[in-house]
Amino acid sequence: MAPVVSVKDLRKRYRRNDPWAVDGVSFELEPGQAFGLLGPNGAGKSTVVKVIAGLIRPDGGSVSLFGLDPGNPAARVELGFSPEDPDFPKFLRAGEVLDYFASLLGLDDTERKRRIPETLAFAGLDQERRQVRQFSKGMKQRLGIAQAILGRPKLLILDEPTADLDPLGRRDVRALIDRLKESGVAILLNSHLLSEVELVCDTVAIMAKGHVLKEGTMAEVVPEGRNLEDVFVELIQGSGPKRDDLPSFISDEGNKP
């Protein structure tokens, strides 16, 4: 079965003299697979997904999306992407944003009339009449997920999808991921919430400073009797200089006034 996404030796940096944001990352994603991309802040996870979504160009290596260059609009027809901190044209309403994106996806009138109200209801925005500029971060996050699933994608990329959601919203996203996986949709999940990744992902890659430190199925990465958080902390701490846990003015008992 042809991979949905193939990333080979990907390299990217934002300015000539900057360190590599991503340096030699490779992985493949099959249909129906849920892949978790983990790492601390600045690890390069969002850079990887932006290259896959055709938003930025790689400086080295190759990326194919459904067998095509992600910069080619045809490659993105079956891609759903919910970015980190999503935002939308601020003077539009939620329904208008979805109609706008449905037009970009090439959905006909019948499909738009069917899908938009259902997607708005799923996102809990069906009663919302305000413009996006008045939305909270959580509402934008819900709209971000809604627009990502609108085109019934075969690859869904979720970049920190639950960061601004309440517990009910998180549960809905988990249920959505499970349902999509069952129907053969490939999921690429970027998240700091390791317990969430452990619940929904089949395979994971742990990144730091642009490199993949460990990659494999959940069973390969997390030995029996341990959890993903332990493995993650051990790998990240082992990959860089040891940091003091707390500032001295807080940890030093003798300095108490």
Binding site: P73, P86, F91
Partner: protein
């Protein structure tokens, strides 16, 4: 094509909800109405005064005075329309693309199967349409206000509106292109300096060297070259027609003869240069959008 249409449609919807443009449009509508009504009241005061003056020793007939007030109104109107059109062009140019890039909305848009060319084309079409619509409303209002003065200079109005829109489109494209690289306020300042200061100075000195007022060969060669590095402001025959009409009336009234230095209408060369600059800056908008990583 669908992508371009969708971008155009929703950019139009967004721009129609922007308060800044609404404020500019309202100020323009009120400004033109006040200008017309003010001049009309002034005319009423002059005609009601039995000792009303003329130019020199000759007193003006009511028709002549009416005509002078109208030409005064029309020349003030051209200046007002130019300023409002430029303000609106800057307002649209600063927001149409920049807000999508700055807010992160472009991330969601560009991850859809839409090309950067379709995005840039849709944005430019919507921006030009809104500019034409707002300036068109102001021009229509001007046409109605001209009824207060009896009319007669309608053709001049339409020709000058065309020239004003053409000049504003160039300004807007420059701001649109710059705002994809830098902050939109910085883009507006750079565009303002380029369009008003650089272009103004270059065109003025070029005119002086052309007319022989400045005879230095080096200055002439330098400014002949620089002249083709800046957009040329198009002007219709309207300004000259209005100035000549005013001068003719004043001469009948014993005033000074037709004034020298009234700029002629732009020629075919200027119009071709305008078309080239529009194409150049439209391509620059596309190139800037294409290069932009979000």
């Amino acid at each position: 094509m669908n992508g371009t249409l969708a971008i155009t449609r929703y950019t139009l919807l967004e721009l129609s909800r922007r308060r800044l443009l609404l404020v500019f449009a309202i100020i323009g509508v009120l400004g033109i109405a006040l200008l017309g009504i003010g001049l009309r009241i002034l005319y009423g005061l002059i005609t009601s005064n039995p000792s009303r003056g003329g130019f020199g020793d000759t007193r003006l007939s009511t028709d002549q005075l009416n005509k002078i007030i109208e030409t005064l109104f029309v020349s003030e109107l051209f200046s007002a329309l130019s300023i409002f059109a430029l303000l609106i062009a800057f307002g649209i140019g600063m927001t149409a693309i920049y807000h999508d890039l700055d807010s992160g909305a472009a991330v969601s848009i560009f991850s859809k199967p839409v090309s950067r060319l379709a995005f840039a084309t849709g944005k430019v079409i919507a921006a030009v349409a809104v500019l034409v619509a707002i300036v068109g409303v102001l021009a229509l209002e001007s046409r109605f206000v001209m009824f207060l003065f009896g009319g007669g200079l309608e053709n001049e109005l339409w020709l000058e509106v065309l020239a004003i829109v053409a000049n504003s489109v160039v300004a807007m494209l420059i701001v649109l292109a710059l705002s994809t690289w830098v902050n939109n306020i910085v883009a507006a300042v750079i565009a303002f300096v380029y369009i008003i200061v650089v272009e103004g100075v270059v065109s003025y000195i070029h005119t002086l060297t052309d007319q022989g007022v400045i005879n230095n060969d080096i200055v002439k060669y330098v400014f002949d070259g620089l002249y083709w590095l800046v957009p040329h402001q198009l002007s219709s025959s309207a300004i000259r027609d209005v100035a000549l009409a005013s001068a003719q009336l004043q001469t009948q009234g014993g005033g000074p003869g037709p004034g020298a230095g009234v700029p002629p209408a732009s020629g075919a060369g200027d119009i071709v240069w305008w078309a080239f600059t529009v194409l150049f800056f439209a391509v620059l908008v596309y190139y800037s959008v294409r290069r932009r990583q979000v």
